[in-house]
């Protein structure tokens, strides 16, 4: 029963994606990819045929990787502090974490731009990165915190009883056990970053990210290559993940046999 529900949920999640993949094989005569006009492989043969598409994609992935990394580090540290310690200013810190999430994007993007302009910071890759790390921190904190709150402290107590000091306990006991939470937060940050439009728009200068490219082009065209690229990244990511999992299975099986 549960598996049925889960399958339905997953199907719902992927329903539009199926359409997106399907339309990557579409063959419109015009520049819009809105209705089915026939099957073709030519979009897949020439996915980067649209100038600027490849560059924009690369920028987006770089920023997503960097910003999710840094935001995860900064956010995890904050989450640890908030959950583990009682200190003065924890209430204000909590507030400071929540408020960025409540801020409408257009306002956050524009106010950040005002900052950059007033401080004469030229807009481009760097400012996009700053903005992305900024809005990702809050999401990381909330996600990692959910994990930390349910964390069983007895495990740490046991480790310390057995002679480990605080630092070793953290590295060998705590961190591995909260890692799923940290990874989930990183994934969320990555997703947020790679799809961000409004905040990026204001702070990008003349740099173009993938969403900026798509929204920009959409006024006059929605080339099927965009669908190809989206599907492509997905396939690469899934294949990569599958590869890692299979490798782990192989290793663990080898290890088990060795014993």
């Amino acid at each position: 029963m549960l598996s049925v529900y889960a399958a339905i949920a997953l199907a719902y999640l992927f329903l539009p994606i199926v359409v997106v993949v399907l339309f990557s094989f579409n063959n419109p005569k015009g520049r819009f990819n809105y209705t089915w006009e026939g099957f073709t492989f030519k979009n897949w043969e020439n996915p980067f045929g649209f100038p600027g598409l490849g560059g924009a994609l690369r920028v987006s992935i770089e920023i997503a990787l960097l910003s999710s990394f840094f935001a995860t580090v900064l956010g995890t540290l904050i989450a640890l502090a908030l959950v583990r310690y009682r200190f003065r200013g924890s209430g204000t810190t909590n507030l400071l974490i929540f408020v960025p999430m409540t801020t409408p994007e257009v306002v956050m993007g524009a106010s950040l731009l005002t900052l950059f302009v007033n401080w004469r910071i030229p807009q481009g890759f760097g400012t996009i990165l700053i903005a992305h790390i900024l809005f990702n921190i809050s999401y990381v904190v909330v996600t990692v915190r959910a994990r930390l709150v349910g964390f069983d402290r007895h495990l740490e107590e046991a480790a310390m009883d057995l002679g480990a000091n605080e630092w070793v306990t953290f590295l060998k006991v705590t961190l591995p056990l909260i890692m799923p939470g940290i990874l989930a937060a990183a994934l969320l940050a990555f997703a947020l970053s790679i799809d961000d439009f409004v905040i990026t728009y204001f702070n990008a200068g003349s740099t173009i990210t993938f969403p900026l490219f798509v929204w920009g082009a959409a006024r006059v065209a929605t080339p099927p290559q965009i669908n190809v690229i989206g599907t492509g990244i997905f396939i690469i990511a899934v294949t990569g993940m599958l590869g890692t999992i299979l490798l782990q299975n192989y290793r663990s099986r080898k290890g088990a046999l060795a014993v």
Partner: protein, 390 residues
């Protein structure tokens, strides 16, 4: 002051150095004959004043594109001819958003790092920027081809002598519809608002100039001279249709997928979009409303801090009929350069004879512009936003 136009000063210094290298090359390239002296003077002047690079911000897919080489042939030719590198950015996708991005630096006297930008007159923003002193005047001496500007575009209300702007492309706003679904021609705004067959299957545009302009024309009023009364009458006309559910949505160009997949039967639509939609749906039709439609123009502007000579020369290049024809063949909006259609007669007659790309005189006479002052009137803007924002 020193930090605001530093880039400009740097460019000048760079040009002075490169002039020595390019003049002999140009002299060698010039043919013999009595005109030699005059030609070399101009060429030398150009070489001296031309910057090493120019940055041009435009709308996406708004210039000729060779899909195999992924290059813009007209731009490459320009770069070769003038020994300039042009950084071409397609980062304008909405007038208000782009303006929101550049107004910060411009209001503080900082350069926005661009020599040429392209913005629509119907947004009211080029006018605004002139008022705010954020645009450089064109170097008309560098734009002899300005004589090719079609008469209809030569003296707009907001820039009567074309001191600050030059059209890049125009577009018309009219009624787009699917005759199979509407059961007949739709050629009046009245029909969009009241035809019961169209209930819930009509969209209007979020652009105030387009929607309000056409509404005013339907009321018999003149959109080039907006008054409180004519504005309110237009609002009331549309309001009724919104309340009754006749009007489904107010859209940007996201009406296009809806029209394509049959979710809407008729809408206010831009001519350029229809050209693309008709490629896959030849049955779709586009007309100017009987009482009149709107015409808008994307204008090339030089923001403060941009290199005036370089940008003006670039503008001049695109006013050569053969270059304009090259661009038009790809872009398929409305060309402001006289003579381009004659060039296309030979190379791509389908485009040359498409009234959505080269409209007839009758069509142009029936296409109007919106009052520039009204575009920046906050009271009107708020009233319109209240209409489209529930």
């Amino acid at each position: 002051m020193s930090e605001t136009f530093t880039r400009d000063q740097l460019l000048r210094r760079a040009v002075a150095g490169s002039a020595l290298l390019s003049v002999p090359g140009l002299l060698a390239a010039c043919g013999g004959g009595g005109k030699k002296a005059a030609a070399t003077t101009t060429a030398a002047t150009v070489a001296q004043k031309m910057p090493k690079s120019l940055t041009w911000s435009n709308w996406p897919l708004y210039i000729d594109l060779n899909e195999k080489t992924k290059s813009h042939p007209s731009l490459v030719a320009f770069e070769k001819h003038y020994h300039v590198n042009v950084k071409y950015l397609e980062d304008i996708n909405d007038n208000d958003s782009f303006f929101g991005k550049i107004e910060g630096p411009l209001s503080q006297g900082q350069s926005i790092g661009r020599d040429l930008i392209v913005m629509t007159d119907s947004s009211g923003l080029p006018q605004r920027m002139i008022q705010l002193g954020w645009l450089e005047k064109l170097d008309k001496a560098a734009i002899p081809n300005i004589k090719n500007l079609i008469p209809a575009q030569q003296h707009p209300d907001w820039d009567p002598n074309r001191d600050y702007s030059l059209p890049w492309q125009s577009g018309m706003t009219g009624i787009g519809y699917d005759p199979k679904l509407t059961g007949g021609p739709i050629d009046t705004f009245e029909q969009l608002l009241t035809d019961p067959k169209l209930k819930g299957k009509v969209t209007l545009l979020v652009e105030m100039s387009d929607t309000m302009g056409i509404a005013m024309l339907a009321n018999g009023d003149d959109p080039t001279h907006v008054t409180d009364k004519t504005f309110d009458n237009a609002i009331n006309l549309i309001q009724k249709a919104v309340k009754s559910g006749q009007i489904r949505q107010f859209t940007g160009n996201d009406y296009a997928p809806l029209l394509a997949n049959g979710s809407i039967y008729a809408c206010l639509a831009w001519s350029g979009d229809m050209v693309q939609l008709q490629a896959d749906h030849p049955g779709l039709k586009w007309v100017l409303p009987k009482t009149g439609g709107m015409i808008w123009t994307d204008n090339m502007l030089i923001p403060k801090g941009g290199n005036v000579f370089g940008a003006s020369t670039l503008m001049n290049w695109y006013y050569r009929p053969e270059i304009a024809a090259e661009v038009e063949d790809y872009v398929n909006y409305i060309c402001p350069v006289a003579g381009a259609d004659k060039v296309l007669e030979k190379t791509d007659p389908a485009v040359a004879h498409n009234p959505l790309i080269f409209p007839t005189k009758a069509m142009l006479a029936n296409a109007h512009q919106f009052d520039a002052k009204a575009l920046n009137n906050i009271k009107y803007k708020k009233k319109f936003q209240a209409l489209i924002g529930g």
